[in-house]
């Protein structure tokens, strides 16, 4: 167990509770669509170097929260800081460069780029990406180095044999994997994964989870939205449950799973679906 995981043991199990070493701190964040309040988070802290699962019934506001934090959507009001730096009003591409990278619930593979090109476009140090750099810069050596890194990553995700195929020819599960491998190539401090295991076959899911754990052990902070409670139990250091835009429970996976409010939220949502 890493010291970061360890330090969570003393944290009280209540919504909005402070963490010993938070990487991400959110306060007073509100986003509504017309009359519908999609996100209304009073306070939330994400502990550095841990895996935090964000759970909650459909429509709870999980994806919207990701959109807000990563600059893809703008809140009515609210504050959030990454490693002490204020992120309010920062455009999405700058948020990514600051070290917070997200993936999408509806996979966004770059269909008419090859799998390898999908990976290479994630590199952050390529001078050949600027107009003058592409014409005058010495980008080929950087390209070679990045190709090696990308190849290693593709091997880990079981996609190396597809490197020269169009990403659009991959299966849904493979696209999820590609999107995640690509996000990691940005070398973020925190990665926000929106349902990364949806549509991925069980064997691959298992290796994906092992991989996420290994990244956590190397110091990466992971926030991920997950529906499968078995997966949540297996992988999470900490679980945050949202319902109707609010954080209703926080704690270690075993504790949150037994929380009556959480059970209620899921059952309530099922009722909602019935009528």
């Amino acid at each position: 167990m890493t010291p970061e995981q360890n330090s969570l043991l003393r944290v009280p199990h209540e919504p909005g509770t402070p963490k010993p070493d938070p990487l991400l701190v959110v306060s007073g964040l509100m986003r509504s669509f017309g009359g519908l309040v999609a996100v209304d988070v009073d306070h939330l802290e994400i502990q550095r170097g841990t895996i935090t699962s964000l759970i909650g019934p459909n429509g709870a506001g999980k994806t919207t929260l990701f959109n807000l934090l990563t600059g893809f959507d703008k809140p009515q009001h609210g504050e959030w800081h990454l490693d002490g730096g204020r992120l309010v009003g920062i455009p999405a591409f700058r948020v990514a460069r600051k070290g917070m990278v997200r993936t999408f619930q509806l996979t966004k593979s770059l269909a008419r780029l090859t799998v390898m090109e999908n990976m290479l476009v994630a590199a952050q140090d390529q001078v050949g990406e600027s107009f003058w750099g592409s014409l005058l810069g010495h980008w080929r050596s950087i390209e070679a180095k990045n190709t090696a890194t990308a190849t290693a990553a593709l091997e880990r995700f079981g996609l190396a044999h597809m490197a020269d195929e169009y990403a659009g020819s991959l299966s849904g599960g493979q696209r999820k994997l590609l999107e995640m491998a690509r996000a990691l190539l940005v070398e973020p401090d925190v990665v926000m994964l929106d349902e990364p295991t949806a549509g991925v076959n069980p064997a691959l899911t298992q290796s994906l989870l092992e991989h996420i754990k290994a990244l956590r052990d190397d110091g990466l902070t992971v926030v991920f939205i997950e529906h499968d409670m078995d997966v949540v139990q297996e992988i999470s250091d900490w679980v945050v449950c949202m319902a109707q835009g609010r954080v209703i429970a926080e704690g270690p996976p075993g504790v949150v799973a037994r929380n009556p409010e959480v059970i209620d939220a899921y059952l309530g949502a099922q009722h909602g679906r019935v009528d």
């Binding site: 999405a92 591409f93 999408f104 008419r112 476009v121 750099g133 996000a183 940005v186």
Partner: protein, 328 residues
């Protein structure tokens, strides 16, 4: 009917200034549309601004060699003006704004209100003498048999194709570089590119400006060739030609715009020659007369494009495999 003459005339267009200028223009549009996914429906505005920039500089006493950079500069400014309000919005906004801008600019240039600056509908003539004065070719005819150009025309043709070669080289360098990979990523999915730290707006603006400057250069070539600019030669149809060429050659391919332009002009002029001959020989009786030839040419062009989209949407150079990729 003189089939040989029809072929020669079509070949003249396909090897000459129209094909070279439209290749140049389409290379720019292809960067925007084929590689970056930008819907610039006002490409003609860039051609107009380039040509007028050059012509008016001379009209007001400047040198043509100052006028050409001014025309290019004006197109870069136009790219910024059109791009800044639209490129952050959904793709269709650029399409709407550019198509309107093209017409607005043409109508303003031709208005009596702008007459002191632009000479309104009369435009500007004989402003390119400095270009022809540089012609190193001795007087005479260049070519084979009846397929010949005089030294003035041949000089324009040489320079125009040289510009096409330079533009192709630039596009090749750009699109095979990491810069090109980012713009193609943006074409596929802007949000994905953003999530990977790419300044999507900045790349789109660069693409719009570079492509627009190539359109301006094409406008200058056409204007220098004719020694004439008038507002009404910059109809939206010119943008349509460029799109037809890009799609015919294959959007997002390096050689597509060049081969597309050559084929387009060969067919377009060949069709005119054939129709003229056929009407003169009374093939269609009184059903089609010579005044109908122009419109019929466009009908056939439209049918040709529809056929292309149905049976070979990837164009001549595009890959079918790429076209069939599932981009959901």
């Amino acid at each position: 009917m003189d089939w040989f003459k029809i072929l020669i005339d079509a070949g003249r267009a396909a090897a000459g200034v129209p094909a070279a200028a439209y290749a140049l223009s389409s290379i720019g549009l292809n960067l925007q549309f084929g590689y970056t996914g930008l819907l610039n429906f006002g490409h003609v505005a860039f051609m107009l601004v380039g040509a007028y920039g050059a012509a008016l500089t001379v009209e007001f006493g400047g040198s043509l060699w100052l006028g050409i950079p001014i025309g290019i500069l004006a197109s870069l400014v136009l790219g910024i003006l059109l791009g800044i309000p639209t490129l952050r919005l959904r793709a269709d906004y650029l399409a709407i704004v550019t198509i309107a801008a093209g017409e607005i600019i043409r109508l303003v240039v031709r208005s009596s209100w702008a007459d002191p600056l632009t000479n309104s509908v009369f435009g500007v003539q004989t402003f390119a003498n400095e270009f022809y004065a540089l012609n190193p070719l001795p007087e005479g005819l260049y070519g084979i048999g009846t397929f010949r150009f005089d030294e003035q025309r041949f000089w324009v043709i040489l320079v125009a194709w040289a510009l096409v070669a330079l533009a192709t080289l630039l596009i090749w360098r750009l699109t095979t570089s990491p810069w090109g990979r980012v713009v193609r990523a943006i074409r596929e999915d802007e949000d994905a590119a953003r999530s990977l730290g790419k300044n999507v707006f900045g790349y789109k603006l660069q693409s719009l400006m570079i492509g627009g400057a190539m359109g301006a250069m094409a406008g200058i070539v056409l204007a220098v060739d004719q020694q004439n600019v008038t507002p009404d030669s910059y109809q939206p149809l010119l943008t349509f030609y460029a799109f037809a060429i890009v799609i015919l050659g294959g959007a997002g391919t390096l050689w597509g715009p060049i081969i597309g332009s050559v084929i387009f002009w060969f067919l377009f002029e060949g069709m005119a020659g054939f129709m003229t001959g056929a009407v003169a020989e009374g093939w269609f009786g009184s059903a089609i007369e010579s005044v109908d030839i122009g419109p019929i040419r466009f009908v056939l062009l439209g049918i040709g494009l529809m056929w292309l989209m149905a049976f070979r949407p990837q164009g001549i150079f595009g890959s079918r495999e790429e076209m069939l990729v599932d981009d959901s």
